[in-house]
């Protein structure tokens, strides 16, 4: 309400009082540092501590080496899988919250956000106990296995080869599965919010109209609910995928060095190998990917609203 009711030019001093601190801070502590990375990414190490910008593309070229390329592909794969799982689990959860009674809604939202308000390290560390070979997840699976075995025995269906062997615990730590699990764990609440937001704003009478016209629940979901919730789904996908791609801690702790992602390589350049230009270049690639995704989304949004205005 009453947004933007003052033209900046009319009160330049007041405007400056508000604008300078904000823009100044962003310039000094955001744009300049990013600029430095960008310069470094096209630079070289001339000494142990100095980097000179020589406008070389050699750092970027190194990314095309097969090892790094495979790592990049793995990162994309893991991030995409984690995003997918977050959407699949998150959508029904968001649906439940969006259609809950007004009294229950804030509590349900709190319930899913509370785990999110703990330190990332603590949350990831907690998974070590869950995903280990003698961890809680394997314990639960083993228990299920035993129950299943017992039931089959009871029914006289136990054959050698079919579930007759003792339970062999799965290895989660040090595998891609474990890392995906970890990323889903830390990202899920964050994916639910935009889904919830889109579903909450949906016009219920559209769903009723679909039922009224003879569609079943599943058809209504497929042909009316989902298409109309799609912008929310896309937003949720993007804000899950980007951080997932740049995950450092999860592959580090849960991957045990076997499942390095992009961010782990970057970290090595700065904390170990001291190859800052190379690390900067990889960081820039991540940034480019982020910007491309955001630009695509903005472009699609603009095209949709321009087409609407043009009619």
């Amino acid at each position: 309400m009453a947004e933007g009711r003052q033209a900046a030019a009319r009160r330049p001093l007041v405007f400056a009082a508000f604008a300078l601190p904000t823009l100044g801070w962003l310039l000094a502590f955001f744009l300049v540092p990013l600029g430095i990375i960008w310069l470094y990414s096209v630079g070289e190490n001339v000494s142990l501590t100095r980097v000179e910008t020589t406008w070389t593309l050699s750092n970027y070229a190194r990314i095309l080496e097969p090892e790094i390329l495979e790592l990049a592909l793995r990162s994309l794969r893991i991030a995409a899988l984690a995003t997918l799982v977050c959407l699949v689990i998150g959508f029904p959860m968001a649906l439940v919250i969006a259609t809950a009674s007004p009294a229950a809604k804030p509590w349900l939202l709190l319930a899913i956000m509370l785990p999110f308000w703990t330190n990332l390290l603590i949350r990831t560390y907690a998974l070590l106990n869950i995903l280990g070979t003698r961890g809680r997840l394997n314990e639960a699976l083993g228990w299920l296995h035993a129950r299943l075995q017992g039931t089959l025995e009871l029914l006289g269906l136990d054959h050698p080869g079919l579930m007759s062997e003792p339970f062999r615990p799965f290895t989660f730590l040090g595998t891609e599965t474990g890392v995906v699990f970890g990323i889903v764990y830390v990202s899920l609440p964050f994916a639910i919010l935009p889904l919830y937001s889109a579903l909450e704003r949906m016009d219920k009478s559209l769903l009723e109209a679909s039922l009224d016209l003879g569609a079943g629940q599943l058809t209504t979901f497929r042909r009316v609910l989902l298409p109309l919730a799609m912008p929310g789904v896309v937003t949720a996908a993007i804000i899950t995928f980007i951080p997932a791609l740049g995950q450092f801690l999860t592959p580090d702790l849960l991957g045990r060095g076997q499942v390095d992602m992009i961010a782990n390589v970057i970290e090595r350049q700065f904390k170990g190998a001291n190859d800052w230009p190379y690390g900067s270049a990889i960081s820039m690639i991540l940034l480019y990917a982020t910007f491309i995704l955001l630009a695509l989304r903005a472009f699609a949004d603009a095209r949709r609203s321009a087409a609407r205005d043009a009619r």
Binding site: S205, E208, A209, D212, L213, R223, L228
Partner: protein
């Protein structure tokens, strides 16, 4: 107004339907029948339960108790998508992500009608609502009135047994309302589909419907044709809801003979009314609380000199504001008790009265036959 079709059995039978939301009762023991081929209106103030009843018929709510029969068969067990009933929602609920043609064809797709037939029927339906040729447009390119017609076409193309309309004219401005009203009546007579309309606007109901059910507080007050409701309201509530009345509290009712009553009313003194003792009034004088005598403003005349006619009810008052309404005007008369009543007067009369100042003593009069003795609420 055409007569409802002389069907033997009603197409829709609502029997003793009640609906409770927790402790609150939205509908109490409502029973009514809708005849095939008629336009039936559910009329009442907001919160009276009419929308709840409509949603129960459509299938989006289930009754707490009672029966619902369509063509004699139980409806309550059927989910909304299986009922041969379609609804035009108050917000029209046109699917924003589908074109007009796909919107209209959606219901036919659900019936697994083959593609060719869908195209034919959709085109037909669009022609019927005067949207022919607009099939490829998207809903956000249409005006509100056009979107309403898409919703109509979408429902009618399925040839439902019953079409439900939730406040179809409320969102339209006066001119559009008249035009749409005529279109709806025309559409109904061409298709022959039974319409059930929900509205809070009595003028709309009277103009559109063959029969009206007046609801208030979850209960059915009266059912009848617009004329029956207007001229023979069953209680003061209906009398005032359909059109306007001026009501005067009754303090005594006495039976003079089989056809005459002596009534004592606030501000009107003793009156002799034709009629018999209404149920609920006591013999021998003391009036049951809640009885009123009512008169419609168009029956009231205003004069400067006391009218000589016997047999007319006369009250004195002072002239108030005269509101110009075009064809006629409404004159306000302030009575000694402090309340005001209004009289409908013609253009010439209005001009004549306008020459007099506010506060000018005047006489309001009407025939005693135009007074009706009614309970506040029947039943």
């Amino acid at each position: 107004m055409k007569e409802p079709l002389a069907a033997d059995d009603p197409i829709l039978s609502i029997r003793n339907v009640s609906k409770r939301f927790g402790a609150v009762s939205a509908l109490e023991n409502v029973s009514l029948d809708v005849q095939a081929g008629e336009i039936f209106a559910l009329l009442g103030p907001s919160g009276c339960g009419k929308s709840t009843l409509l949603r129960i018929v459509a299938g989006f709510e289930s009754p707490t108790s009672g029966e619902l029969l369509l063509d004699g068969r139980d409806l309550v067990r059927l989910p909304p998508n299986k009922r041969p009933i379609n609804m035009v929602f108050q917000s029209y609920a046109v699917f924003p992500h589908m074109s007009v043609a796909r919107n209209v064809g959606y219901g036919l797709q659900m019936e697994r009608v083959n593609k060719h037939e869908i195209t034919v029927r959709v085109d037909e339906a669009l022609e019927q609502v005067r949207l022919g040729g607009l099939g490829e447009r998207m809903p956000d390119q249409l005006s509100g009135g056009q979107r309403q017609r898409v919703a109509l076409a979408r429902a009618l193309v399925k040839r439902p047994r019953l079409l439900l309309l939730d406040e179809p004219l409320s969102a339209l401005d006066a001119k559009l309302r008249d035009a749409m009203r005529l279109e709806l009546v025309d559409l109904q007579s061409r298709t022959g589909v039974t319409f059930v309309i929900v509205t809070h606007d009595q003028g709309e109901a009277m103009a559109l419907a063959d029969r009206i059910a007046v609801l208030e507080g979850g209960r059915l007050r009266q059912i009848g044709s617009p004329q029956a409701l207007y001229h023979r309201p069953v209680d003061a509530f209906v009398a005032d809801f359909i059109g306007t009345v001026h009501a005067f509290g009754v303090t005594r009712v006495e039976r003079i003979d089989d056809a005459l009553l002596r009534v004592q009313a606030d501000g009107l003194g003793d009156l002799v009314l034709p009629g018999s003792l209404p149920p609920g009034a006591f013999e021998g004088g003391r009036a049951a609380p809640g009885f009123k005598v009512v008169v419609r403003p168009e029956r009231i005349g205003v004069v400067l000199e006391p009218p000589g006619d016997a047999g007319r009810v006369v009250v004195t008052g002072t002239l108030g504001d005269i509101a110009f309404q075009g064809q006629h005007s409404i004159a306000e008369i302030r009575l000694a008790s402090g309340r005001s009543i209004s009289a409908v007067i013609g253009g010439d009369e209005a001009a004549a009265f306008a020459a007099h100042p506010i506060g000018q003593p005047v006489y309001a009069h009407w025939a005693v036959e135009h007074l009706a003795l009614l309970p506040e609420r029947a039943g």
